[in-house]
C-alpha cells in the first residue's frame, strides 16, 4: 500500500462516525425542513420554504428565540466575570488551594439533570432553602416562587447555569493567567504599579485571547441549552422559559411534526453557525490587535 493511504485509513473511522452522526443529519434536517413530514399522518411531501415563512410569523419561535438570546448573553457574561474573579483569587498562593481547585470541578462533573433537580429543591417555592435564607436575612418579605413564576423562572435557570459553569471557566482562565510571565508583573510592581494597574494594563490584555476563546465556546454552548430547561421547567410556566432547543424538541417528539421541528432546529443551526463565524472573525481580529 502506498504511504499516503495510511493516514486516511486511520482517520476513516472518525470520518465515518462524525459524517454519519453529525454531518449527514444536518443535511437531512435541512431536507426535512423543506417538507411537511409528520410521523402521525405519515406524509412527507416537498413544500418549499413554507415552513420557514411559517416560522417567521410564529410567535412561539420568536418567544423562544428571545429567551435563548437573553439566556446566552446573561449567562456567558456572568460566567466570564465571576470566573475571572475566581481565577484571580486562585492565582495567589494560599493554604488548601488544591482542595478549593478540586471542589471547583464538582459543578462541572455533575450531570446537568442532577444540577437541574438540585436547583429545583434549593429554589423550591415552599420549602426551598434559598427562600428561607433570604427571608431570615430580611432581604425578602414573602416567599418567591422562583421557577413557578413567569417573571423569575428564566432568571432561576440563568443562576443555575452560572453556578454550574463559572468555576470551570475560572479554571480555564487560571491556566491562561499562569502563562503570563511573572517577570512582567514583577517588573511593573518594581516600577511602583499598584495591584489594579497591574491587572488592567498587564494581566487583562494578555489574558484577553483566553478570555475571548473561553467566552466564545461558552456562548455557543449556552445557546443550545436543553437539559437544564427541560428538566427544571419544561419551558414553562406559560412558555416563559421556552428556548429554541426545548421548542424544537417538543415539535419533534410531542407533536411528531418532523418537518416543522426540523425547520426550528435548522434555523437554530444556521443562527449558531453565523454566531460562530462572527465571533471567530472578531476573535481573530482582537487577538491580532492585542499581540
Amino acid at each position: 500500500m502506498p504511504r499516503w493511504v495510511w493516514p486516511w485509513l486511520l482517520l476513516l473511522p472518525t470520518f465515518l462516525a462524525i459524517g454519519a452522526v453529525a454531518f449527514w443529519p444536518i443535511l437531512e434536517g435541512l431536507r426535512l425542513s423543506l417538507t411537511n413530514t409528520s410521523l402521525i399522518t405519515r406524509q412527507s411531501d416537498f413544500v418549499g420554504l413554507e415552513n420557514y415563512t411559517g416560522l417567521l410569523s410564529d410567535a412561539r419561535f420568536w418567544n423562544a428565540w428571545g429567551h435563548t438570546v437573553w439566556f446566552t448573553f446573561a449567562s456567558t457574561l456572568l460566567e466570564t466575570l465571576i470566573g475571572l474573579g475566581m481565577a484571580l483569587v486562585l492565582y495567589e498562593r494560599f493554604a488548601c488551594r488544591g482542595l478549593v481547585r478540586a471542589a471547583m470541578l464538582v459543578p462541572w462533573a455533575m450531570p446537568t439533570v442532577v444540577t437541574s433537580k438540585m436547583f429545583g429543591w434549593l429554589f423550591d417555592g415552599q420549602n426551598g432553602v434559598v427562600n428561607w435564607l433570604l427571608m431570615n436575612l430580611g432581604i425578602i418579605d414573602a416567599k418567591i416562587n422562583w421557577y413557578g413564576n413567569p417573571d423569575t423562572a428564566l432568571t432561576t435557570l440563568i443562576i443555575a447555569d452560572v453556578w454550574k459553569t463559572a468555576p470551570f471557566m475560572a479554571l480555564l482562565l487560571l491556566t491562561g493567567l499562569q502563562t503570563i510571565p511573572k517577570s512582567l508583573t514583577e517588573a511593573a510592581r518594581m516600577d511602583g504599579a499598584r495591584g489594579w494597574t497591574v491587572f488592567w494594563s498587564i494581566r487583562l490584555p494578555l489574558l484577553m485571547p483566553t478570555l475571548l476563546i473561553a467566552g466564545l465556546f461558552r456562548a455557543l454552548d449556552a445557546f443550545r441549552v436543553f437539559d437544564l430547561v427541560y428538566v427544571l421547567t419544561g419551558g414553562g410556566p406559560a412558555d416563559s422559559t421556552e428556548t429554541l432547543s426545548t421548542l424544537a424538541y417538543k415539535e419533534l417528539f410531542s407533536t411528531l411534526e418532523f418537518g416543522y421541528g426540523s425547520t426550528v432546529s435548522t434555523a437554530m443551526f444556521i443562527t449558531e453557525a453565523i454566531l460562530a463565524a462572527i465571533l471567530c472573525l472578531w476573535l481573530v481580529r482582537t487577538i491580532r490587535r492585542v499581540s
Binding site: T14, A17, P25, V106, P111, W121, L171, D227, Y230
Partner: protein, 291 residues
Amino acid sequence: MTRSAMSAATTTSALPGKGFLRRALLYAGALMILLWSASPFVWQFATSFQLDKALTSGTPVLIPDPFTWEHYYNVFVEKQLHLYVLNSLIVSLATTFLCLAIGSLAAFALSRLDIRGRYGILMVILSVSMFPQITLVGPLYIVASALQLLDTSTALILVYIALVLPLVTWVMYGYFETLPREIDEAARMDGLHAIGIYWFIILPMSLPSLVTTGLLAFITAWNEFLFALAFTSNIDHQTIPVGIANFTNLYFVPWGDIAAASAIVTAPLILLVLVFQRHIIEGLTQGGIKE
C-alpha cells in the same frame, strides 16, 4: 533600578496593615469559591438522609434528625435505580473504549503521519462539538427507528462515539504533539511501520493521557440526556439522567428520593474528579476548550 527597588520597599513598609488585609480578602474569596462549588451538593447530600416530614417542616436543617435511609431504600427498591446505573455503565464504558481506540488512531495520523490539510481536518473535527445536538436528534431518530435501533444501547453508543470523538481526538492530538519526534524517527530507522510506531511506541507512552481522556469521555457519556431521552422509552435501556428526570410522584415532588439518587450518581464522579483533578485540567486546556 535602585530607586524603584527602594520605592517598592517603602510602599510595603509604609502600609503594615495592607499585607494582612490582602491575606484576609484572599481567604474570604477562597472560602466563597469553596462554598459556591460545594455547598449545593452538600445540601443535596444532607437532604437525602432526612424524612419527608422534616423536609417540609418549614425550617430547613443541615444535620439530619432523625437520620433515615428511607430515600435510598425507595430509589433502589421502588424506582430500581440500579437498572439505570447498569444501562449507563454499559453505554458509557463502551463509548469510552471505542472512542479511545478510534480517536487515538485519528490523533496519531494527524500528529505523526504525512497528511495534507492537517489543520483543516482538525478544525472540521472540532466544529462537530459546536453543532447543536437538537439539530441531529430528529434525522437520527428516523434512521434509528428504521434500523430497529430505538430502545437499544447500541444506538446510544453509536451516537455518543461521534459526540465525544472531537474532544478525545483533540486532547490526544495535543498530547501526542508533546512527545519528542526523535523517538519515532529512531523506530522508523529500525524498520518499524506506522502502525507499529502507534502500537509499540506512542500508545505505551500515552497511558496517563489515555486515562484522563477516557475519564472525560466517560463523564460526557454518563451525563448525556437529550439522545437518551429521545431514543429510549423503558427502564431496560434508559440511562440515569433520564431516570432521574422522570422521578415524580403523583401528588408531590419526592425531593428526598431525588436527592438520594443525585448523591448516588454524582458521588462516583466527584471521587474520580478529585483523584484526577490535575490531569483533567491539563487535558482540557491542552485540547482546547470544551464545555
